[in-house]
Symmetry: C2
Subunit: 178 residues, 2 copies
């Protein structure tokens, strides 16, 4: 199961609280494995029970106290083992594509609006990726090994969104001309 390992991966950088993790998820690993905050908190408890994380409660002034989680040696080993074991390509589960499949049932205009909506979302996501690219990876030739991998993950996102946008254009063209 990947959520636990996504959390471990996110904690590699620096120890943090569930709340921070949730925030960190948006804008990094969360692009590739999203999870709700309830899921994250539940998983953190489970991982601590397993001994893959340790926590320490920190009292703050002006704020509720928080629990800082840190990855353990065991956690790192488990993460490594999981990365090393082969996996299959992720199955697709995309509402829009099953809608497209039966799209002839609804009026063309309605469908076009939906495609525009998705186009906008994919454009926005691509813009986010490109902003991260410029901000964090201005010189991709000279990256640490860890950053090189993060850069590759980002590039995957960019390829993905670019392909979606190309398809949106194509699909909208095909639909209006019918």
């Amino acid at each position: 199961m990947a959520l636990s390992h996504a959390i471990l991966a996110a904690l590699l950088g620096a120890p943090c609280s569930g709340y921070d993790l949730q925030k960190r998820f948006e804008g990094s690993v969360g692009f590739f494995w999203q999870a709700s905050f309830q899921q994250i908190y539940r998983e953190l408890n489970k991982l601590e029970e397993l001994g893959w994380l340790t926590s320490s409660t920190v009292r703050q002034q002006n704020r509720p106290e928080k629990k800082i989680y840190q990855i353990t040696e065991m956690g790192q080993e488990s993460l490594k083992a999981w990365i090393a074991e082969p996996c299959d390509m992720a199955p697709i589960r995309d509402d829009l594509l099953v809608k497209v499949f039966a799209g002839s049932l609804v009026p063309t205009q309605a469908f076009l609006a939906e495609l525009e909506h998705h186009q906008a979302q994919h454009r926005q996501r691509l813009a986010i990726y490109q902003q991260i690219e410029q901000q964090f990876f201005p010189t991709p030739e000279s990256l640490s090994i860890a950053d090189k991998f993060r850069y590759l993950a980002l590039q995957n996102g960019i390829h993905y969104e670019t392909a979606w946008l190309a398809w949106c254009e194509e699909a909208m063209g095909a639909i209006v001309s019918s």
Copy 2:
């Protein structure tokens, strides 16, 4: 929830049994919303209770009897309503990408092997899509409206796999040169 609607969409073409549906899923809607046969049977029962499907038991010679499911008027309406209501872009949940994210933890060779494995899988999937394209959509200009939408779904798959393969090349190049 999309599984029910994916099943309805698959039944639009022709009524069939759970077993046939399962087979039909591989090679059409199933590319965009995969489901196990247990899921499909459970869902068929649920959809029949809702009145979106009707079934009739067919005794066959030389084979166990089967239940043929057919979409009802209500089922079609529900499918239309679902297609018409807007949805967000599908979240990504991809093991490999969270592995890439923390890929620096494992030896380069191991990671390269995993990438080759995925490259092979995506190549294979692309080949399947292209075979479907040649077999069922040789002249995309002259398609019925229903087929035009199915063709667009297929094109999405082709874009998706092509993007993955481009990324695989890039990633493998970046990893060997480090």
